[in-house]
């Protein structure tokens, strides 16, 4: 091991498989046979879009993020195309990038922008998600469906849940019926049941990964590895069976690394969490921190599985059960199948951005769960859903003994107002004030 | 016996290979139209027998006869048929029917049986109504357009024209195609007015060349075909940007046997219709049997 390195490190095997799956997703967007729609059918904790023979649904998050990550000049041109049409500095970067491409009419390699044919909702507390589908339909006429991310404060309220649940089921039921009617593709209920099983299995693996990552020192993987995995099967749609196999492979490799003390960062001395990725073109700041031995454990955004763990008064962590019906539930009609997918609770049990409404201090539990020493909370100028409570969360984390730092920027899909050099200076000040020094290589 | 020009010959067939006594499920479909009535009988999903008769004076009587002719001398009787679906204008006269079905879905299902699963546009050219149906790849109707209220320009009209012009209904179609170019269609398809206008076309009057007999038939066939295009076209997307694809087109009903009409519709829709060995008039009855 190189000098100053405490644990053994090793390249990740699942890395190539992840790249291959993402490439498959990119091709599916440009495919001609498939009917491409904007949105994400993740509202029912599984992906019913795959139950249609030739349908692909894309949310503009991954599209906008990849544009920013891969081709900043094209992303900047796209954002200008959005700005001159009235989307100024207040619009989420992903939205500005993706739909800027639509206004330009071509993607980065010059080929025509793949037009969307319909819009399904991606229910999310973030307003930009709620409004995003409108843009495709304002640009040209296409069918659009809407639904809601159901929200109320406090504990589970059975009375408020009943009409909310009917609303949730109706919105999905209507999308499936109308897509079948309008695009002439038959919805396959059997396939849909298989998808539910696959969705459940994938979620189990992601919970295990989150647990291993959080509770093992040194952590077997860091957030930058998680980022090449975390959307597969969710925002980035790939073949369901491949999704389950991939997540199993990732869980196995991480478990093996944890058992054999293979570390993501050789001289891990400081574990820190974040609220949100940096601007996607500037992932290298993780490596800069790793020079100090500071490994990033990720965020409630990247480690979805961790959100199911809740801290008990004695400091231990309890895994809350899933929001599903019994397995032997009768499934005679399409409505039954979708009702089972919708789960028992209309309101989501918790997780990224939902906590801003329901458990405003959940980030402390996330930090404790990940045995973090510090937190780096980006405060974005726009992207309302990603910035809502960062300052408040910082106060809760400091009360819990963590060292917290903020840095300013626009939003992960937009590099405007992010002074990269100044960010590195801030990181130096932060680390050195905690007594850490960069290891000389 | 006075020769009937405007009548399609009646026909029926019963399979001698299938033993209906061994069949687990016998279903029948009856299509009681305004001009003709059909029946189709299936044993375990296989076509056992069919009949295609003219509707005489009484619908009740034809409802009975159409089954008798379909079973032939196989000994099968109406009460032994488990399920009978009735459709068509006079479906209420089939007292024995266990289920009443609408014509559109019956003709669609029948066309799928006759022309195969690829058919997506079915045009039923009936005696009094004309139905244009668009289907999904699976058995579900996507869009329908039905001719205007009155029965002008339908099968009944052609039958009357054949009586008037003393030409058999089986030949008027071919003859109407045997012309150099289609002259302008007769200006109306309402039979009462078309009669005088058609007669007028034989007269050499005031700067108008008299038409040959075939050309007179052509003027009438084109007028009727043009009227049907008005209904079929209503299923077309509103703006020319998306011209609807008509490739898999199947004709059913009596006028499907009249090339003078079908060829002219195909020419205008730039498509060639699918063919089948079954008599297109049976589509309604076959569909009713399969859907019952």
């Amino acid at each position: 091991m190189s000098n100053g390195q405490i644990w053994e490190t090793r390249p990740l095997e699942f890395w190539n498989k992840a790249k291959e799956l993402r490439a498959g997703w990119q091709k599916s967007i440009e495919s001609k046979e498939k009917v491409v729609g904007q949105g994400n059918t993740f509202d029912l904790s599984f992906d019913w879009q795959a139950a249609f023979p030739a349908l692909t649904i894309i949310e503009d998050n991954p599209v906008g993020a990849m544009m920013q990550n891969k081709n900043e000049p094209y992303a900047r041109k796209a954002r200008l195309a959005s700005e001159i049409r009235g989307w100024g500095r207040e619009i989420c970067g992903y939205q500005g990038n993706c739909w800027g491409g639509q206004f330009l009419g071509y993607i980065e390699d010059g080929t025509p922008w793949p037009r969307r044919k319909f819009v399904v909702p991606m229910p999310c507390v973030c307003d930009q998600h709620a409004k995003r589908g409108q843009q495709a339909r304002d640009f040209e006429n296409m069918p659009q469906w809407m639904s809601d991310r159901l929200m109320y404060f406090g504990d589970y309220d059975a009375e408020r849940e009943v009409p909310m649940m009917e609303h949730k089921v109706y919105c999905n039921f209507r999308q499936v019926n109308d897509i079948e009617r309008i695009f002439g593709q038959r919805f396959d209920e059997e396939e849909c049941i298989k998808l539910m099983e696959a969705g459940k299995e994938t979620r189990e693996y992601s919970k295990e990964i989150a647990y291993i990552m959080a509770r093992t020192i040194p952590t077997p993987i860091s957030v930058k590895d998680m980022y090449s995995v975390y959307t597969i099967g969710g925002l980035t749609k790939v073949d369901p069976a491949a999704t389950v196999a991939f997540w199993k492979m990732v869980r196995d490799e991480i478990k093996w690394r944890a058992d054999n003390q293979i570390a993501a960062v050789g001289n891990e001395r400081f574990r820190w969490i974040e609220a949100h990725p940096p601007s996607w073109h500037y992932m290298k700041y993780y490596r800069y921190m790793e020079d100090y031995g500071a490994v990033c454990m990720g965020s409630q955004y990247s480690n979805g599985g961790a959100n199911n763990y809740f801290m008990l008064p004695d400091g231990t962590f309890e895994l809350r059960t899933d929001n599903t019906y019994p397995d032997d539930m009768p499934l005679e009609t399409r409505e039954d199948v979708l009702r089972k997918g919708a789960g028992i609770h209309a309101r989501p049990t918790g997780g990224f951005k939902t906590d801003e409404y329901v458990y405003r201090d959940k980030i402390v539990q996330f930090a404790k769960f990940n045995q973090a020493d510090g937190a780096l909370l980006a405060i974005w100028r726009h992207g309302v859903g990603c910035t809502l409570t960062r300052k408040e969360q910082a106060m809760y984390l400091r009360d819990a003994g963590l060292s917290v730092m903020h840095y300013e920027g626009s939003q992960p899909g937009d590099r405007t107002d992010l002074d990269e050099k100044r960010l590195l200076d801030q990181l130096d000040t932060w680390m050195q004030s905690l007594g850490l020094r960069k290891s000389q290589k | 016996m006075v020769q009937k020009f405007g009548k399609w010959p009646e026909s029926c067939w019963t399979s001698d290979k299938i033993d209906w006594k061994a069949a687990k499920a016998i279903t029948a479909g009856v299509d009681l139209g305004t001009g003709s009535a059909q029946c189709a009988i299936f044993c375990d999903g296989e076509l056992f027998g069919w009949s295609n008769l003219r509707v005489g004076a009484s619908f009740k009587q034809i409802a009975e006869e159409v089954i008798i002719h379909a079973v032939g001398n196989s000994g099968l009787t109406a009460d032994k048929i488990g399920v009978i679906g009735a459709t068509g204008f006079a479906r209420d006269n089939a007292a024995y029917a266990t289920k009443k079905l609408d014509e559109v879905h019956c003709h669609a299902k029948g066309a799928r049986y006759m022309y195969g699963p690829s058919v997506t546009t079915v045009v039923d050219l009936g005696g009094q109504t004309m139905k244009a149906i668009r289907l999904y790849e699976w058995d579900r109707v996507r869009d329908i357009a039905i001719n205007d209220k009155c029965a002008t320009g339908q099968g009944r009209n052609i039958e009357q024209m054949c009586e008037l012009l003393q030409v058999p209904i089986t030949e008027i179609g071919e003859k109407s195609l045997d012309v150099k170019g289609d002259p302008e269609p007769v200006s109306t398809t309402c039979y009462n007015f078309a009669r005088t206008e058609t007669m007028g076309q034989f007269r050499p009057e005031f700067r108008a060349e008299p038409l040959t007999e075939n050309e007179v038939y052509a003027t009438h066939m084109l007028a009727v075909a043009w009227r049907m295009l008005g209904a079929i076209g209503k299923m077309q997307p509103l703006d020319p940007g998306e011209i609807m694809v008509y490739e898999d087109l199947g004709f059913t009903g009596g006028l499907a046997k009249n090339p003078g009409i079908t060829k002219r519709i195909e020419k205008e829709l730039r498509v060639t219709a699918l063919t089948s060995e079954y008599d297109p008039m049976l589509a309604g009855a076959i569909g009713a049997a399969l859907l019952a």
């Binding site: 009917e166 109308d178 | 204008f89």
Partner: protein
């Protein structure tokens, strides 16, 4: 309450009203007629309805035109409307104008009052409201001259209040049809609106105020296919009854004399006539008044969405050229918003076999794609 009977005995009702009050009855043709001014003069405004019977007498005067217009003239010439003391028509459909003019030219009473009210087809210009106010003023003068009674602001206020209340009650009933399994179906609702157009509004308000609680106490009906009716004016409820017999329900209509008749109310202001004028200029547009940037297609879509319809019936009287010309825009909005629809033409006579074939096929076509939830209890047997 049998509203259909009220519509059918409208002649007897009007005669009884005349006997009881000694007032005059004023027949109107086009639905843009501002009845409030006539009501303020103590006159009973009554809509001239058509019914289907051979138009043997009117054929001499009118060629072509839609059938209701021919039948209105036929009934007028046969004396069915002798109890009407006056006729008024508003600028609108020309066939309707012709019915009014032929009736006036064949006065069955020497002193038959007639007036032609010019409400601009171009309803959206800033000057349109001044034209309407001026015409209202002229009409008010004519009413005063005809009835010999001065129309004061108080009379106008009272009339506005009665009519606003009437429209609100009708809308109250119509809102009940937005619920799943509504307690009132299309035929009964249309009969209520037709009765409303041929009766004294004050009397009708009392009836409706008694009727609404009864309605709200009713058990919800069966789960039916929810249809919307778009197209020419109707004079009877044969079509709605046939739809209900086949398992559907006309939950909302965009008819000129249906929802269009009671959709918006007069917002009182100091200048009463301007208030009345703005109401009629602002009501849902009928085809001749829907120009420039087209408000009718958008209104159709909003009704379809509010009442959660599964499909639309676009039904037009044969030879109704206004709704004929609007077909393009109506079909365009229905196709753009992916609302399935079936178009057909009708006459006053509704052939049952032919229409059943259409409606049954259309409803069977809709059934596989219906977005009606069976609901929680059906799936799990719990309540």
């Amino acid at each position: 309450m049998d509203f259909k009977a009220l519509v059918e005995n409208r002649h007897e009702y009007a005669k009884a009203w005349k006997a009881k009050t000694g007032g005059k009855v004023l027949g109107w043709f086009e639905p843009y007629f501002p009845e409030e001014v006539a009501y303020a003069a103590g006159v009973l405004p009554v809509r001239v309805l058509a019914k289907h019977e051979p138009d043997d007498v009117s054929d001499k005067w009118i060629y072509a035109s839609c059938y209701p217009v021919r039948d209105m003239v036929n009934q007028f010439l046969k004396g069915r409307y002798d109890y009407m003391d006056g006729l008024v028509n508003v600028e609108g459909c020309q066939w309707m104008y012709n019915a009014f003019e032929v009736a006036v030219n064949n006065k069955r009473k020497p002193d038959l009052f007639d007036h032609y009210f010019f409400l601009p087809d171009h309803t959206d210009a800033p000057t349109s409201k001044h034209v309407t106010r001026s015409e209202l003023n002229v009409f008010k003068g004519k009413m005063e001259e005809w009835t010999g009674k001065k129309i004061t602001d108080a009379d106008l206020d009272k009339a506005i209040e009665v009519y606003n209340k009437n429209r609100l009650l009708l809308k109250q009933i119509s809102e009940l049809r937005r619920m799943e399994k509504p307690v009132i179906h299309g035929a009964e609702m249309m009969n209520i609106v037709l009765a409303d157009q041929v009766m004294d509004k004050a009397e009708m308000n009392e009836i409706l105020e008694k009727f609404i609680p009864e309605l709200e106490a009713r058990e919800p009906g069966k789960d039916r296919i929810r249809l919307m009716l778009i197209g020419s004016e109707t004079f009877d409820t044969e079509l709605e009854e046939l739809v209900e017999a086949l398992g559907g329900d006309v939950v909302v209509d965009e008819l000129d004399n249906g929802t269009g008749y009671y959709w918006n109310n007069i917002i009182p202001q100091k200048d009463r006539l301007m208030a009345i004028g703005l109401k009629y200029l602002g009501r849902p547009k009928n085809p001749i008044k829907d120009n420039n940037w087209r408000r009718r297609p958008q209104h159709i879509f909003e009704l379809a969405e509010d009442y959660n319809v599964d499909g639309a019936l676009v039904v037009k009287q044969i030879y109704c050229h206004l709704h004929g010309t609007d077909n393009y825009a109506v079909w365009k909005i229905l196709r753009e918003r992916y609302i399935p629809y079936h178009f057909f033409e009708r006459d006053m006579l509704l052939p049952v076999e032919d229409t059943t074939l259409r409606l049954e096929s259309f409803m069977n076509m809709l059934k596989p794609g219906i977005n009606h939830l069976a609901g929680w209890h059906k799936v799990f047997g719990e309540d």
